[in-house]
Amino acid sequence: MTALELAPPAEIQQFGRGQYTGMMARTFLALMVRDVMVLRKTAFAFILRTAMQPFLLVFVFGYVLPKIGQGPQRFADVLLPGLIGTAIIFQGIQAVALPLVQEFGYTKEIEDRVLAPLPVWGVALEKITVGALQAVLAALVVFPFVYLIPAKRPDITFDWINLIIILLLACFVSGSLGLAIGTAFSPRQVPLIFSVIVIPVTFLGCVYYPWDNLHTIPWLKVAVLINPLVYVSEGLRGSLTPQYGHMNWIAVYAGILVALVSFTYLGLRGFEKRVVA
């Protein structure tokens, strides 16, 4: 080693409550800055993985099929809120759950952040927040695709207040779902996450049909209520394409809030269990 001087070790200091909270906030922000920087490094991959599926769906169902005279002409109107909802909810799994599964399972990279001077739940909350942020970005990335690609421009109106509240809540649902899944599965179970969670949630998430239209299959109409994506799709439908009908607002908000609270609880508890023996 060279003869450079290192400062002597720190001393334990006394902190007032305000000062202490300020320090925690700084650490929280620093963790966010790290995640955003990593996201920036991988921006291209982010856009690809986020946009590919909705792009293909809207291209085939909203452009190709209407052009060749197959399928409903205005299907893109139904798809638009549904695909934005899907992009939001699955961003949590992509951005939070999959990396966490790897970090807990193999790389143990999370260690340094767990040792940052923040309570463990604070580190977990940062994961949710960063997942939510990526979900917002996912919604913004997906919107031009689902709006511009269809053969017939979707007929949308903006109910801004509901739209913004639903978007924000849905993004946090996504982050907390990601945390809950990321702390519950081992790397070997990743394929299971897709077959058991991602695929059923999408197909039964009122993405391709408004919930109300399920009245002809009453048992299904009730069964899908367990799926958080249903409330997100219906909420977005209510604020973007209300002409196709949507679930009652109270039910939408209740469903989203229940999902948010339960996933956050499961996620925080799961995280604590995984990092503190």
Partner: protein
């Protein structure tokens, strides 16, 4: 109103002293544990650490020496907030570690056995972001990063991906990262495990130099020579308990011998043991599978006496060595088995 609130705001009930620094800061204990216990599972699980009373003094290198599974890593886990004790208490200065983990984390640097470098970040970013986590300004973190890259000879690799580092470099970077925020205590869990001998020597130099700069270091190891070379005090640990805790010199002194003669013989060892035990200068004899360990005083002439005694008892001597007592001997005496498995 604001001033009143500030006045009434209760300071947190953790590190509370008037002047800022804790009273026992100079030369006193920086880590204390009392009855610290960890039982995994619900009551019936493994007792990994069993009522540990430990004191690490400021400025020393303290070593936990023991075989794998002795409870060293669990002990470090409890001291670094990663393992919740099932009983007892551990303090860092005046901070109760289990009750105020976020506060304790601020003052410790941890190097785990596994490589936990952030693979999404470059070498220098690993240091820089660590600094930000600990509340440093961007400027201070940059400066500190440059300093540490220099100090740990990683400047040329500053922009590398951490995946491209050799084992020794990765270990240096892990130690550098643990130092970014100037921790009061640096924890090194098996710092040279699985590392080639040359790199091990280099790491020993780093550890010594950090200690000279005033860092208190707590390390675990299952290498005797590492404990002996580096540590001011050593706690020998087995089955979750500390069996002895002293300087290497004193630990070795606890063995009643100046010289240990190891004798490997063939055939029935019982008559040989009897004959050797009766020789002048022999204090005691231990036996582990075909190997006799003969504890003696001064060695002048004694080897010849022992060889003569063993030969006259009909022993076929296959190997003989004369050594001063080692920590290995201390360990065998304490546990009845060898440290190396």
């Amino acid at each position: 109103m604001l001033a009143l609130q500030m006045h009434n705001a209760k300071p947190l009930s953790m590190p509370v002293t008037a002047g800022g620094a804790i009273p026992d800061a100079a030369g006193g204990a920086i880590i204390r544990t009392a009855g610290l216990t960890k039982q995994y599972g619900d009551g019936r699980g493994v007792l990994a650490v069993d009522h540990l009373d430990l004191e690490v003094r400021r400025g020393e290198i303290f070593g936990l020496l023991g075989p794998n599974g002795a409870g060293k890593t669990t002990t470090i886990g409890m001291l670094t907030t990663r393992v919740k004790p099932s009983g007892g208490a551990a303090y860092l200065g005046s901070i109760d570690i289990a009750r105020h983990p976020a506060m304790a984390k601020r003052y410790i640097g941890v190097v785990t056995q596994q490589n936990t470098l952030d693979r999404s970040l470059s070498v220098s970013e690993n240091l820089y972001y660590h600094g930000l986590y600990f509340g440093m300004s961007a400027h201070a973190a940059h400066q500190r990063t440059a300093e540490l890259l220099d100090l740990f000879l990683l400047k040329d690799r500053a922009q590398s991906e951490v995946d491209q580092l050799s084992g020794g470099m990765a270990q240096r970077l892990m130690i550098a990262r643990a130092l970014v925020h100037d921790p009061l205590v640096l924890f090194l869990d098996e710092p040279t495990s699985g590392i080639d001998p040359q790199t091990r020597l280099a790491l020993w130099d780093i550890i010594r130099e950090l200690n000279q700069r005033g860092h208190t270091i707590l390390l675990t190891t299952h290498y005797m020579e590492e404990a002996e070379q580096l540590c001011d005090r050593i706690a020998i640990m087995d089955h979750g308990k500390i069996l002895a805790n002293d300087t290497a010199e004193n630990l070795k002194r606890s063995i009643d011998a100046e010289t240990i003669i190891e004798l490997r013989v063939e055939g029935d060892v019982a008559p040989t043991i009897a004959a050797v035990r009766a020789s002048a200068g022999v204090r005691s004899v231990e036996q582990t599978d075909g190997m006799l360990r003969i504890f003696t005083g001064e060695d002048s002439g004694i080897v010849a006496n022992i060889v003569a005694a063993a030969t006259s008892a009909g022993a076929q001597i296959r190997d003989l060595s004369v050594k001063p007592p080692t920590l290995e001997n201390v360990f065998i005496q304490l546990t009845g088995r060898e440290l190396r498995e």
